[in-house]
Symmetry: C2
């Protein structure tokens, strides 16, 4: 059961191929007696008022929606999923991106700082993270224009040109609800009050722009041109039976980052690529990577607690990304810079072409599933750079 927002219909909930209109359900009085649910929240354009309402409301709403979807006498509330035109499911408040896959961080360390210890000394002590641009988060299906930027050249200064190393990052995004007070950290035992659900997230990255700009204050324009998320938000309640203990952490993290609660999510993730010529020839998108989310080194609970450990407050609509999810084996990496090992080992596509980084016309699709629960896909096609 996933939530989304349609341009015309407002909020909708899907389970399988049945899609329930929340506005219509509210108008029919079917959501009246959910404790704490503001009457306007299910009638809103986005999930934000529901996100603001908090944990007990979410649980009540999910369970009511399940009951409505199970009944057969509400056809007037249902629409065909194919008729939807989905917008961003929520207005993003702040967007933070983590860097919490040990395989990804190790791969990047090897690629960018060869001959040195790939993991920096702080990496196992805190979930490294930074803020990204909330205003350029776009919904699945939005085309992504190849960005220009300042990139290093052989000698002299940098050149302002279209990126030649356009990449993806396969991530899971956590949708935050409720508020916390400025100055008051959210303890790890209370993160469940703020984790509404998950989306898939593609943190498009221009590696050459990023490489030139990122010292000493981190990535900015190599990332800020677009970040795509699923149109569908999967409530964490749907994934309870897929929560596992997180991976063993050595050294043990600081006490405020420890919990007995299982917060790793056993979620299968896949990256598919379709070139323009594959599309023209009717060749189905090719899977280029598959991995699992459960061995992310820092769990989504540790990430949320860390993010507020200095007293930073949360707002409904905050979003944080897991960081690129890469597995330990070849073929399980969540980015092309890893899959092609810095461009040295191109991938073969079914149309006979090869890929190191993305080309114009390429369409990338991220998929995720846990048992029967499917996360909304994220897809986007690369448009040529603006002239």
């Amino acid at each position: 059961m996933n939530y989304a927002a349609d341009h015309a219909l407002g909020l909708v909930v899907a389970a399988g191929d049945r899609v329930l209109r929340l506005r219509a359900a509210a108008d029919a009085g079917l959501l009246d007696d959910i404790d704490g649910l503001p009457p306007d929240a299910p009638r809103a354009d986005t999930l934000n008022p529901i996100l603001a309402a908090g944990r007990s409301v979410w649980t009540g709403l999910h369970s009511r929606v399940h009951a409505l979807l199970a009944r057969r006498d509400h056809d007037d509330l249902l629409v065909d999923a194919r008729d939807l035109e989905l917008r961003l499911p929520f207005d993003v408040a702040d967007y933070v991106d983590f860097y919490s896959s040990i395989h990804h961080a190790t791969n990047l360390g090897r690629l960018l700082r060869p001959g040195t210890e790939p993991l920096l000394s702080n990496w196992r002590h805190l979930p490294v993270s930074y803020h990204g641009r909330a205003g350029t988060i776009v919904v699945s299906g939005t085309p992504v224009r190849r960005p220009r930027g300042l990139v290093a050249t052989g000698g002299g200064g940098p050149q302002y040109r279209a990126t030649e190393r356009l990449d993806i990052e396969l991530e899971v995004g956590v949708v935050v609800g409720g508020r916390s007070d400025l100055g008051q950290p959210v303890s790890i035992d209370r993160v469940g009050e703020h984790i509404f659900g998950l989306v898939l997230l593609n943190d498009w990255s221009a590696r050459d722009i990023q490489a030139y700009e990122y010292q000493p204050l981190g990535p900015h324009l190599g990332k800020s041109f677009a970040t795509s998320i699923s149109a569908w938000v999967t409530p964490i309640d749907e994934l309870r039976s897929f929560l596992r203990p997180g991976p063993h952490q050595d050294p043990p993290p600081s006490a405020h980052l420890r919990t007995e609660h299982p917060w790793a999510v056993d979620l299968d993730l896949r990256v598919l690529l379709e070139s323009r010529s594959m599309r023209e020839q009717g060749i189905a998108p090719a899977q280029v990577s598959s991995t699992n989310f459960a061995d992310l080194y820092w769990t989504i609970a540790q990430q949320l607690t860390h993010m507020t450990a200095n007293g930073a407050s949360l707002r409904p609509g905050d979003l944080y990304g897991s960081g690129t999810v890469s597995g330990a084996e070849r073929g399980s990496e969540g980015s092309f810079i890893e899959l092609s090992w810095g461009g040295e080992t191109p991938l073969d596509l079914p149309d006979g072409s090869v890929r190191t980084f993305l080309e114009d016309g390429d369409r990338v699709i991220l998929e995720g599933s846990a048992g029967d629960v499917r996360l909304g896909p994220v897809e986007g096609e690369i448009l040529p750079a603006a002239t």
Copy 2:
């Protein structure tokens, strides 16, 4: 003439000690014929609808407000500035922080990487910058709680404790209006369409938290606990006669960052500090630094164009900070880590105490002025860490 937002009265405009209520002026029909001004915009709780309306509306509105303030027959529209309870003047969309003072960047390079070239090789080629947390931007007067965080210790892992190196950063913030399209850079000749005005900005920084976390993705929790801005926004139109050509740039920047238009702002800036004991003894805040904004290496125009050079879009309410403004001489630095040279040369306060970094009870005030134009101050007092 500065704009602010009062909790009860809505938008107000001050010139000297006269404060005009925009909502009352609109109700009296005095703002009806300003081309393009949506009727609800002057009645809103914040500046955002005015920011959305765009450059020509701003110019029309400023000039009407000047005319109203000059007349003597509108006493019913005026309130005493002392009765105001000001909130954030606008809801912040995205917040980007630059690092554009060459003196500051050089000082920090010397302090943090002694024995190496203090400016990294990209610094003179692009305005280095990163995203900060919009949700913890607070209005002048809001107390700031000393943050906790993971800090390096002598040996072994880091310790989670209250910062011992709490600092300020003296900055000027640019308030952005209008929208730009995703995928379309804003050329440097059109930045004037998006620069609504300026605030002063204190980018509170916990240097020990920042030092431990910032590699390789930049600052996060060392900054995200609070950023203070003026309650008053000064329109750039008020500062037209204080615009100067920017400093000479060698090497010359990329063509897209060049302009003949003068975009450096001749603005005097001051930092004042009042300890708790000074306050108790009735000793006035002591000036600890003074500098000028005009020699910022990268101008606010170059910053805006750079920020969108990859196609990132702008939204009304975006805010960007100049980065710490430091001058070339001792006593003109915009942070305590520079003023006390990494804690080695404490400052003497008039109550007989000394300062390297901030202590609980300290109140910091940032002031700015250009001729008769005064920018709203930014002040904040340090509260002890949460227990």
